[in-house]
């Protein structure tokens, strides 16, 4: 029982990280329909931005983190501006955008691997490493911060989408792009905004993981895969769904360890995903998938 509680707690922490990636990725995918695998590169870059800020520029940790998030948001925005939008101007198909995104992911990850070596770059997180013991469960302040931050980020995003003008513009573009265009919404600007916000959400996830176990160049690939699984399970177009999907995956992975060897973690998530799309292709909260607008 103690073990289960520990696994639940760890699952919640990991789930929060997946959820952060998922809501960011889901926002981008829902708005632009780009299969933005390079989101994994933004995740990795954010970690290295924070690491570089702290270790190379000797900035205090909070400053380094905030700057890193801003830099990551900018990075995501530039990816859309300089890569995807340029391809779209040339009439590229969606598969071409995906292939370019994949190419960018590979390229950036390997550049990081050459510059920083593939070994984990650890960060100095001082007091955040302090243990917190709640009954049989062992966590650190960092882990609690992770869950708290995710909840805050989710709340802020939902508020932004519901209340602000730009948030509503994003929602309009997500559900009916052609109609949004006719009422005068600048699609390109909305896309850029979605990329900036989505990337700003992936950044804390990458940074938090780096603060825990070190920054690594290739971790982003796994996170973006799980983010997309989470979004599909949650239902495309639903931010709450993506949140739920991410948390669910985190819990699933960790509870799976209870009965199965830990090397099989990814197989579990993937297996559940397959069963899920057989039984409920639209996910927890997705719209029923109609044929494309006829």
């Amino acid at each position: 029982m103690d073990l289960v509680l520990q696994l639940l707690a760890t699952g919640l922490v990991v789930g929060s990280l997946y959820a952060l990636c998922a809501i960011g990725w889901g926002l981008i995918y829902g708005t632009t329909l780009h299969f933005h695998v390079a989101h994994g590169a933004v995740f990795a870059l954010a970690a290295y931005y924070a690491y570089a800020g702290q270790t190379l520029l000797h900035l205090p940790l909070p400053v380094a983190v905030v700057l890193a998030i801003a830099a990551a948001a900018l990075s995501g925005l530039l990816i859309d501006l300089l890569l995807y939008q340029q391809l779209e101007r040339r009439g590229a198909f969606r598969t071409s955008i995906f292939i370019a995104s994949l190419g960018l992911l590979i390229l950036l990850e390997n550049v990081l691997a050459i510059v920083f070596t593939p070994d984990p770059m650890r960060m100095d997180i001082g007091a955040l490493n302090t243990a917190v013991i709640i009954g049989p469960v062992f966590l650190t302040y960092l882990h609690i911060l992770t869950v708290a931050l995710t909840i805050v980020a989710y709340g802020a995003l939902m508020l932004f989408l519901k209340r602000s003008r730009w948030g509503q513009a994003i929602r309009a573009v997500s559900s009916a792009p052609e109609m949004a265009r006719t009422v005068g919404i600048d699609l390109k600007r909305v896309h850029l905004l979605a990329y900036a916000i989505g990337s700003a959400l992936a950044a804390p996830a990458g940074i938090l993981v780096a603060m825990d176990v070190g920054a690594e160049p290739f971790r982003g690939t796994r996170f973006v895969l799980l983010a997309s699984v989470g979004v599909i399970m949650g239902g495309i177009g639903s931010i709450p769904g993506a949140m739920l999907g991410g948390v669910f995956l985190g819990l699933l992975e960790n509870l799976g360890i209870w009965k199965l060897p830990s090397e099989w973690q990814s197989a579990i998530s993937f297996g559940v995903f397959l069963v899920f799309i057989v039984l409920r292709p639209r996910g927890f909260f997705g719209r029923t998938i109609h044929s494309a607008e006829i």
Binding site: A92, L102, G103, E263
Partner: protein
């Protein structure tokens, strides 16, 4: 012909089979798969195990490889292709990860990282194919057979249907085509062929381990397809000829090994991006007139 060049040609043959079969999916059907390395691996392990544990020869191994590869792909394709195409990207991504996990962790079966040594060489009517020169003939012959199969598929009513599904699957449905069945069929065939390449590889190198079948390998195969061109069936062959020569070129530049691997990946990544900009149809493709922005 030196043994070195013969080795290069054998690998060109193997990668031509891999890239041509992936092109059936990516180029002709518009279905993107990240799992081709996993399928390659499934073919290699299935064939190797058939030989080592069941005493089947190379030809039996080929058959086992094709069947197992087809089944693995169908298992993933059937649930995910019923829904939108992007689901298959995720599902194939996941398949790649899971299969690799199986290779590494199901040690009783696959020996994990230690790999499977001692895979027997193929023999044909008593003649054992035991050196690279003989293998070149086998490899290129199988590549030619793969080409012929893919040609029959694509230059037929079925191929016409594939192209229609790729361009507008709703119109295809309205014209009586069972789009889901078509996609599942082509995915299964593509994987059967990809698995064949695995079998060919296993009996050539006579030793296999999981590191040959990672996501990086899937990316490499994708690069072959994109470079050579998705429009022509011969595109992947050209892609293989070029990209397999690259590591040799890098060796000339005396780049240290630790940097060489990421450098190759950077090259493939850059290549994918570059080609999407400059020539999405690849080296051999017909240039498409681009629609007005």
């Amino acid at each position: 012909m030196t043994a070195y060049f013969a080795h290069y040609l054998v690998m060109v043959g193997i990668y031509t089979i891999l890239a041509t079969s992936l092109n059936l999916l990516v180029g002709y059907s518009g279905i993107f798969s990240l799992a081709h390395a996993a399928i390659y691996g499934i073919g290699a392990y299935a064939s190797a195990l058939a030989a080592l544990k069941l005493g089947l020869g190379f030809w039996g191994g080929l058959l086992v490889a094709a069947v197992v590869g087809a089944l693995a792909a169908a298992l993933v394709a059937i649930p995910s292709l019923r829904v939108a195409g992007d689901y298959y990207i995720v599902a194939s991504f996941g398949l790649q990860v899971v299969i690799l996990t199986v290779f590494i962790n199901w040690t009783s079966f696959t020996n994990g990282h230690a790999g499977l040594p001692g895979i027997p060489r193929p023999s044909l009517f008593g003649l054992v194919i035991d050196n690279p020169f003989k293998y070149v003939v086998l490899s290129l012959a199988l590549a030619a057979v793969t080409y012929a199969i893919c040609h029959r598929l694509t230059a037929s009513a079925f191929g016409r249907m594939l192209r229609a599904v790729r361009e507008d699957e709703i119109a295809a449905q309205a014209t009586g085509k069972n789009v889901v069945a078509v996609k599942i069929t082509i995915t299964t065939i593509s994987s059967a062929l990809g698995a064949l390449a695995g079998s060919l590889y296993a009996h050539y190198i006579t030793y296999i381990n999981p590191t040959s079948f990672t996501l990086d390998e899937s990316i490499f195969i994708t690069s072959l397809v994109i470079l050579g061109g998705t429009e022509r069936l011969a595109g992947p062959f050209v892609g293989a000829l070029i990209l397999l020569a690259v590591p040799e070129a890098l060796k000339f530049l005396a780049i240290p090994d630790t940097v060489a691997a990421p450098m190759r990946q950077i090259l493939y990544g850059a290549l994918l991006i570059l080609f999407m900009f400059v020539r999405p149809e690849g080296i051999l493709g017909r240039a498409r007139t681009r629609p007005a922005a």
